[in-house]
Amino acid sequence: MDDLLKKAKRQSKKIIKGASLEAAELTKKIALDVEETALVQIKEMAAAIRQEVTDSKKAVDAELLEYKKQRMADIDEQVSALVVETSKKILGQAIDIRSHEELVIKALEDAKRSNLF
């Protein structure tokens, strides 16, 4: 009876040990799978974030370039308007009647050259 009990104990210990080993092995395998999956997902996420950052930077760069262009055009326009206004004030006062007449005749000559007549 004792022998039988001992044998059963040994057998059960063996089974438990085997099961433990199997469980450990399985746990290890699951851990590895999780790690692999996590790594793949992290890599994918990192790539997506990198792509998003690159796209955003490109969009910001393009917007910045457009803004710079617009600002430069605005400044050019303002400078031109200032030059024209100043010239108008100076020339409007400076042109005497003889010069006016010469400019009118020149305008008529230009009109003729442009086949307006």
């Binding site: 024209v84 108008k88 020339l91 409007g92 006016h100 400019l103 305008a107 008529l108 009109a111 007549f117």
Partner: protein, 143 residues
């Protein structure tokens, strides 16, 4: 022939559309005088209400028999005379008008000038003729 001669003489002294508008008014007054019983009405109106330079030309050519026809001819002929619309930056003096008309007669022909003033163009002129327009102003050059 006589009609063309009077037109030719008048276009030498009538340089602007404004001058011709006045002529059209003078022709109207002269035409009305023809229907008055007073035999001297035409001569009186010619002397009192028509500019001397115009009256001199009309007096030189017109005879009692063809007054109506001649006035009709002048009215039609001057209405048909083309205009150059000229926008200037200053009020043209009589001397300016003479100079411009001299150039226009030599370079374009019998054309009237219709002057407008727009000081914002600074100098030069905006020229309109036969449905076409050209901006030869200083303002345009500066912009």
């Amino acid at each position: 022939m006589q009609n063309e001669a009077i037109y030719s003489d008048l276009i030498k002294v009538l340089l602007t559309r404004e001058d011709v508008n006045k002529l059209l008014w003078e022709i109207g007054v002269l035409r009305e005088s023809l229907f008055k019983t007073d035999a001297g009405a035409f001569a009186n109106i010619l002397k009192s209400q028509v500019r001397k330079q115009v009256a001199d030309v009309i007096e030189k050519y017109i005879s009692a028999g063809d007054r109506v026809a001649l006035l009709d001819f002048l009215e039609e002929k001057f209405k048909e005379t083309p205009d150059i619309k000229l926008t200037l930056a200053f009020d043209p003096t009589q001397e300016t008008i003479q100079k411009v008309s001299k150039w226009v007669k030599m370079s374009v022909g019998d054309v009237l000038i219709d002057y407008k003033v727009d000081r914002s163009i600074i100098g030069g002129a905006i020229v309109e003729y036969g449905g076409k327009i050209g901006d030869f102003s200083v303002k345009k050059l500066l912009s």
